[in-house]
């Protein structure tokens, strides 16, 4: 369906190409009331894909020792890791919103030479292996990095701090927010902005009163995606921030450590907690989105 494809936040190319207002596109896609139906052969690979995604989750749930489960997830290390993960992910999403909303608006509402190249570069963390993102951050903000000396003069040391965890998470999660919001902005079009401006609203008023309210669902999706990405962040964090209980050891790092340190039971238990948190976030976002 071209309609949903154009709203796919991971495919900006589509939304760039298709700038017709949403209603026009829907009409073209739906056709004159004909039920197209699905090709039957589609079901087999779709079902296989579903099994492929769900079976590992089932395997993990089966692996849990339910008797020990409460003790495992309430251990000091687990609670510290969960608290740290939630705190840093919230902080990182706030940073993503502050920087990402303006970025998405600029990318969606302007048209200049080299814009697509700029977009690709800005969204690069999306395709970079997280370890590479961590190294890039290290070479920028690390003690011997590009800005290391400046930070040192200011008395700031980022490595091995919780702030470094938040930075690593923001870095990898930002593109998720930008890309979904940009898609939403392009789908929404400029018609209402133009009307508001014609009626005498200043750009700032249009932005807050028209543009943003129109794309709130897309913004929420983007924020949820970014939050989920932050919760799962591992490679950039371990490379840039390190791993110390209560300071930089987030859930994924604690899980990896449990697993590497021959305590797979704790690793599985904590993984389930992470899955539950992710499902909760998605659920809350869906409820919030349909309420919008």
């Amino acid at each position: 369906m071209p309609v949903s494809a154009s709203r796919d936040p991971l495919d900006p190319a589509v939304s760039v190409r298709d700038r017709r207002p949403r209603r026009e596109r829907s009409a073209a896609a739906a056709g004159p009331g004909v039920d197209v139906g699905l090709p039957r052969w589609l079901w087999l690979p779709a079902a296989l894909g579903g099994v492929f995604v769900l079976l590992p989750l089932v395997a993990m749930v089966v692996r849990i020792h339910w008797a020990d489960f409460p003790a495992l997830i309430t251990s000091h290390e687990s609670v510290e890791a969960l608290t740290l993960s939630l705190k840093t992910a919230v902080a990182a999403v706030v940073i993503c919103l502050v920087l990402g909303i303006p970025m998405a608006v600029v990318l969606a509402r302007t048209d200049f030479r080299g814009q697509s190249l700029l977009r690709s570069l800005v969204l690069l963390p999306l395709v970079l292996p997280p370890v590479v993102s961590g190294m890039a951050l290290l070479y920028t903000f690390g003690r011997r990095g590009l800005l290391g000396h400046t930070l040192d003069v200011l008395g700031l040391s980022l490595s091995f701090t919780t702030a470094a965890v938040v930075m690593a998470q923001s870095f990898v999660a930002l593109p998720f927010l930008v890309i979904s919001l940009e898609g939403a902005l392009r789908s929404a079009g400029r018609r209402y902005d133009v009307v508001a401006a014609t009626l005498g609203a200043r750009p700032t008023t249009v932005f807050w009163r028209v543009t943003i309210p129109l794309v709130l669902p897309g913004l929420l999706s983007g924020a949820v995606l970014a939050f989920a990405r932050c919760l799962g962040e591992f490679g950039a964090t371990i490379t840039f921030a390190g791993s110390l209980e209560g300071t930089t050891r987030t859930m994924p790092i604690q899980i990896y450590l449990y697993n590497a340190g021959s305590d797979p039971d704790s690793a599985v238990a904590l993984s389930i907690v992470l899955v539950v948190v992710a499902v909760l976030v998605i659920g809350v976002a869906r409820v919030g989105r349909s309420a919008l």
Binding site: L10, V132, F176, L225, F234, G242, S243, L257, G261, R286
Partner: protein, 259 residues
């Protein structure tokens, strides 16, 4: 409207899960041999990467038609892979605890010790915090990175702290020696505790600071053939080769001690 949230979530979750995988890549560096080659799969602790790659070359030169496939990872990871049915012929562990897990459940037979390793302090080449002794690691303001107690090098670190009475307050507890070295080579940390062989293989990237108490905690490396080995004879020959003069020479050059 509802569905449009689920779709991007799935897409992004797929991206998020696939991306880290691409970082791992494939560690299979063996050339695909002809039909007349015999393949021997060796699982070895990550700290043996350089030495076993060297030993593999020598073993292959001495045994034409044999293709040795090496898989390096943390010892405990390799143990769970072997227990999960991974097709390995030989296992070389970085500590006895992990080998014991395999002998207890019968998957490994008669392990033999083939090397020892001790801890050494690693600092950036310019040694910014002027570390000269193990006690220096306990000073406040020194950014020390160690292995987490859950992994073998971290356990060794803890023992060393107990034996020397020095308490280290690390800025980070990493999950492997490699991660500790990474923090040193990037200059983020002032000092780290790794194995003496890691300092040797890191070359100019780090400066090693030996300390006399290091001999108090000695890590022993055992090697064994596995019960499910496809080619038990060849597996046995590889173990003998590691224990023999050729293998021992390679290990000694890398800084390993003899058991």
């Amino acid at each position: 409207m509802k569905k449009s949230l689920v779709r991007p979530l799935f897409a992004a979750l797929a991206a998020a899960t696939l991306l880290p995988l691409s970082a791992c890549g494939s560690s299979d560096d063996s050339a695909s041999g002809g039909s007349d080659t015999t393949t021997l799969t060796v699982f070895a602790a990550a700290s043996l990467t350089d030495t076993f790659t060297e030993i593999k070359k020598e073993f292959e030169a001495a045994h034409p038609g044999v293709d040795v496939k090496l898989d390096f990872d943390g010892s405990s990871t390799l143990v769970s892979q072997i227990q999960g049915g991974a097709p390995a012929d030989v296992f070389a562990s970085a500590d006895t605890a992990n080998m014991d897990k395999l002998t207890q459940d019968g998957s490994a037979q008669a392990p033999k010790d083939f090397a020892t390793n001790v801890l050494e302090i690693a600092t950036p080449p310019d040694n910014p915090a002027h570390i000269t002794s193990f006690a220096d690691l306990g000073k406040s303001g020194v950014k020390v990175v160690v292995c987490a107690p859950e992994v073998p090098c971290g356990a060794a670190t803890q023992q060393m702290e107990q034996k020397t009475g020095v308490t280290i307050k690390p800025v980070s507890e990493e999950q492997s020696v490699t991660d500790v070295l990474g923090k040193i080579t990037s200059g983020e940390a002032d000092a780290g505790l790794v194995y003496v062989t890691d300092v040797t293989s890191a070359g100019d990237q780090v400066k090693g600071v030996p300390f006399p108490q290091s001999s108090k905690v000695v890590n022993t490396y055992p090697i064994a053939t596995l019960k499910d080995a496809k080619n038990a004879d060849l597996a046995e020959q590889f173990v003998d080769f590691v224990l023999g003069s050729d293998g021992q020479k390679v290990l000694k050059n890398a800084g390993f001690g003899q058991p």
